[in-house]
């Protein structure tokens, strides 16, 4: 089964699978993630301002190392802002999922590219969750629970809420008849 004549057709279908991108996440998710990371950068900036001001007050007039610290902090904040803006777009670019009648396949990761596949029959139960921020963007997270160990839960983040619910319903309909234990 692993070798034999089918190999050629298999590599052909493989090429198709490689080009096939699957379904994209919600574009809203990019905005949501940008906002979330921007919030983190702002919090960090505020911490920096507090620390630097108190240091400046404590060592008035500001010594040389204070100026170095200030410029390093500014550089760091600029770098983080760029990352907060560009990161989600990159993640979006490399994230996709594919659902057919046998499996759900999730691709994600910019540096580490991870492809997780769950056969439909192995889905034990599913959750659709939404935080307040996610709700305002109309985005949801689909969580699949399997009986596995390392991947006892598989998360698909950044779906449009309606799509997440639809996916959940289709997965549940399937697992009702297939994933029975006993």
């Amino acid at each position: 089964m692993a070798t034999t004549p089918e190999d050629d057709s298999e590599s052909a279908s493989n090429a198709i699978a490689a080009t096939q991108q699957g379904e994209r996440l919600s574009e809203q998710w990019v905005r949501l993630e940008r906002m979330r990371s921007a919030g983190q950068v702002v919090v960090l900036a505020m911490v920096g301002v507090v620390v630097l001001t108190s240091l400046a007050v404590g060592f008035w007039p500001p010594p040389t190392w204070w100026w170095i610290a200030l410029s390093l902090t500014i550089l760091l904040l600029i770098a983080l802002s760029v990352l907060a803006y560009a990161g989600p777009a990159l993640q979006y670019r490399y994230a996709s999922f594919l659902i057919d009648d046998t499996r759900l396949e999730i691709r994600r990761g910019v540096l580490w590219r991870i492809v997780t596949t769950v056969p439909r029959g192995r889905v034990q139960h599913t959750d659709v969750t939404q935080g307040p921020l996610e709700r305002s963007f109309g985005v949801a997270r689909l969580i699949l629970h399997t009986a596995g160990t390392q991947h006892a839960t598989v998360t698909l983040d950044g779906l449009e809420h309606a799509r997440a619910v639809a996916l959940r319903d289709s997965l549940i309909a399937e697992s009702d008849e297939d994933a029975r234990v006993g």
Binding site: R103, E105, P119, T149, V181, G182
Partner: protein, 520 residues
Amino acid sequence: MSDEPESPRGSDAAAAQEPRVTDEQPTAQPRMLHPSSLLFQGVHEARRYLIPAIAAAIFATQGGPRMAVLLAVVFVIGFLTEAFRYITTRYVIRQGELIVWRGLFFRSERHVPTARIQNIDTVQNLLHRLFGVAEVRIETASGKEPEAVLRVLALREVEQLRSGVFGALSRDERFPSVTASEAARPVLLRLGLGDLVTAGLISNRGLLLVPILIGLFVEFDVQNRFDLRRLSGYMPQSLGAVAWIALAVGSVVLGLLVVRALSTAWYILRFFDYRMELNRDDLRIRCGLITRISATVPRRRIQFISVHRTLLGRLCGRAAIRIETAGGGSGDEQDAQTAISRRWFVPTIPEAQVVQLLAHLRPGVAFADDSFDWHGLAPGARRRLMRLALFQALGVAAAGTGVWWPWGWQAGLWVLPLLLYLAHLEARTRRYARTAWGVAYRSGILLRKESYTFFDKVQTVEKRQSPLDRRWHMATLSIDTPAAGPAGHRIHVPLLEEQFAEREAREVTLAAGAESMQWA
């Protein structure tokens, strides 16, 4: 791949529809525990509360008669609780369910469908054996705790319980049950004293006992009590270099011998008179010198089989087999039965019998090495590992220079050949194979592990690529199964060819999706 397993589809569902209980009257009377339960439950509780009890006793002796009375009251209450628990515990198998009642004021009634019961294990220590009883643990796929513990039952009752639970199940067509004439319980494996001694001699198990010895040494204050310094009086005052070396070598050898002796003792204590029998579709293991343990593993519930071969083991032609079943968690439980039915499933086995035994664990599957279509790592894997070895050697050299300026870098030079050799071995030993029934994976240089899992147990499949992987066009393939852990090995294959990993991830998923999950 000549042996195709019979079609697994549908048979389980069909079996589930049938009424399961035939040899059991639906109106079976609830049974009580064995009368000696009172004693054993007491011993169990006492062991749990031993330290508080001792502390209480010490306080009591200091606190005068009033404290002693209080203590006595506590003990009496404890005893009465046990008595109530004993009197009120009932169990019965009725309509495909094991029902256990507990408690007087707070009654609990637990229903466990027999189809969900994974194992029924028993433990018998010396006291149990005196009374002809055993502690029974009933495990299902959920959680780490046994679903029910019956402390204690007479051996005859244990047999009835076993046949009541598993006997009703054995007509699953996937694992054709043995006909009545064959039901003489073929012994699949028996370990004699010689096997255990060999296993102990090639095992480092005894090292685990060394901390205990040290603990005892400190605890009993041996040093001060016996004044070891006097020993130096017996030593010759001036020793030559040769004598010192001889002394050092001698003590190392002595230490090794002690460790090996401890290992051997441990093996004999735990696995004396080990035998694995096939009872219908259940594997029954019994072993132990003082505490007799018996574990039952329905073989359809084996999810993962792992054969471990240490370096010494390979030289002596011995292996060990671990399995994983859905019951119990991935935690490192030291519970005796759990260990027996998973980690110490087969503690030692002659190499010549491995393939034969494996075939019994999963009927219809050939485990001989040439029945696998082994795939090695990607062609560039060896070069990549060697390059990594080079970087490691550079690291060692840098560290060495830091420690001993300027000649420390030589350390890197010394370890380089070793690291390169290890990289070479590593690239050669890792292998992966997909078959008609599942996947097989081998890894490890000194301790070689070879594991098998089956498509009906596969939960998720993952292909992962690090930035370096992408540069080398490689990928890591991982396959997840339930309750992984006790076997100490995972199907996690690094450094595969990118295209191959992609194809395997898809094929394994498809094959897994085509089989409905069988784990109960």
